[in-house]
């Protein structure tokens, strides 16, 4: 997992929420991000109509250890 690249892409998408479908296909050939990782990013941004807090609330696990 290349966290730096993922962070930069997520930041770019967050700043340009209307251009996700344009940006993500371009990324495939340029950055070290796997298809699987891109799928996850696409999935999270497809929930963008949700507020940030709702996104956070969807995180599992439901048992809370820390």
């Amino acid at each position: 997992m290349n966290f730096d690249n993922i962070a930069e892409l997520v930041h770019e998408l967050a700043k340009n929420p209307n251009r996700c479908s344009e940006i993500i296909p371009q990324v495939k050939s340029v950055r070290e991000i796997t298809n699987c990782e891109l799928d996850v990013i696409t999935k999270v941004f497809s929930k963008e109509e949700l507020s940030g807090n709702s996104l956070a609330a969807r995180m599992s696990p439901t048992l809370y250890w820390f």
């Binding site: 997992m1 966290f3 730096d4 993922i6 962070a7 930069e8 997520v10 930041h11 998408l13 967050a14 700043k15 699987c36 990782e37 996850v40 990013i41 999935k43 999270v44 941004f45 929930k47 963008e48 940030g52 807090n53 996104l55 956070a56 969807r58 995180m59 599992s60 696990p61 439901t62 048992l63 809370y64 250890w65 820390f66």
Partner: protein
């Protein structure tokens, strides 16, 4: 009796046989209860038992390891809170630190005592080794965290190295202990340990984000602690926004008086506008997928995996 009641009975028996004075036993019981109110009842014991069950071990096989894990995690929580000066509402933060450290040590020893009745000597040795190793790892991770507090920034790799040693290590240990006591073969023990690691990282990401969004009561940002949202913002921001974050961080470190509602609003705006929540969600989801992949590859029946799958969500 349900599982919670059985665990409770086992802990009571351990405390009765410990020879500890009534005052100490009462305080330990009240601290256990305080932890449950926040984190749900016997989360650590349950994780250990779930893993033991998934490998075919019965309740009896996993119970002592489960109790040991529950007590070990409580002791670790107490020591962590004292060192971080965190969670001021909890009872161990309301007594002098010397008393809290003394009782945390007592709980830690009780954790090892819980194991001593495990009849299978090989299992006993293996579980002891797991607890020893996680203790060393967690101390190491905590020390790295202290050092990082004063750094301007850390890399994502440094962040993950620490949480794997601390949170990930604890959940990995609970799963490993459950698997050992369930009589699993080495490969399966390793797989469940790796699953536990992912679970711990997921939990910590969730916790980091919740803390970062809860600036009124949590102190991570005020301490300069490099949690995932902070590491992300330090990485992606530049220009005016980076300056703003730096300024907010300096004010927060000076204390909550300096870091008022205006500053909290500014930080919240940075969190929302710069994709912090999306980033944490993405990384969380990636760890979730890896946890599911591990479960997919484990050679046990779907029925036995069910509870572990539910944990991942």
């Amino acid at each position: 009796m349900n599982i919670d009641q059985i665990i409770e009975k086992e802990i009571k028996l351990l405390l009765t046989e410990s020879g500890l004075s009534k005052d100490v036993v009462n305080i330990i019981n009240s601290w256990l209860n305080a932890n449950y109110r926040i984190k749900g009842k016997y989360g650590w014991a349950q994780l250990t038992l779930m893993t033991c069950d998934s490998t075919g071990g019965g309740l009896e096989a996993g119970l002592r390891g489960a109790v040991a894990m529950e007590l070990y995690a409580l002791a670790a929580d107490i020591l962590d809170d004292i060192q971080d000066q965190d969670n001021n509402d909890l009872p161990w933060r309301k007594v002098p630190p010397a008393q809290a450290i003394n009782l945390a040590t007592c709980i830690l020893v009780l954790s090892y005592k819980a194991l001593s009745t495990i009849a299978n000597r090989r299992h006993l040795e293996d579980v002891n080794n797991v607890l020893n190793q996680i203790g060393l790892q967690a101390c190491d991770g905590q020390f790295q965290e202290f050092l990082n507090d004063s750094k301007e920034r850390i890399s994502f790799e440094e962040y993950f190295e620490i949480i794997k040693k601390k949170s990930g290590g604890l959940t990995a240990s609970a799963c490993k202990i459950g698997a050992i006591l369930g009589g699993a073969e080495e490969t399966l023990v390793d797989q469940l340990e790796r699953f536990g690691m992912k679970l711990g990282v997921m939990s910590q990401i969730k916790n980091d984000l919740a803390d970062f969004l809860n600036l009124e009561t949590k102190s991570d940002f005020i301490k300069g602690r490099k949690t995932l949202p902070f590491v992300y913002l330090l990485h992606v921001l530049n220009g005016i926004n980076a300056e703003e974050l730096k300024c907010l961080s300096s004010l927060a470190i000076q204390g909550l008086y300096e870091f008022g509602s205006k500053e909290r609003g500014q930080l919240k705006e940075l969190v929302v506008n710069e994709g912090t929540i999306h980033f944490c969600s993405v990384i969380h989801e990636m760890y979730k997928q890896r946890a599911m992949e591990i479960l997919d590859g484990i050679p046990i029946s779907e029925k036995r995996k069910e509870k572990l799958i539910q944990l991942v969500g």
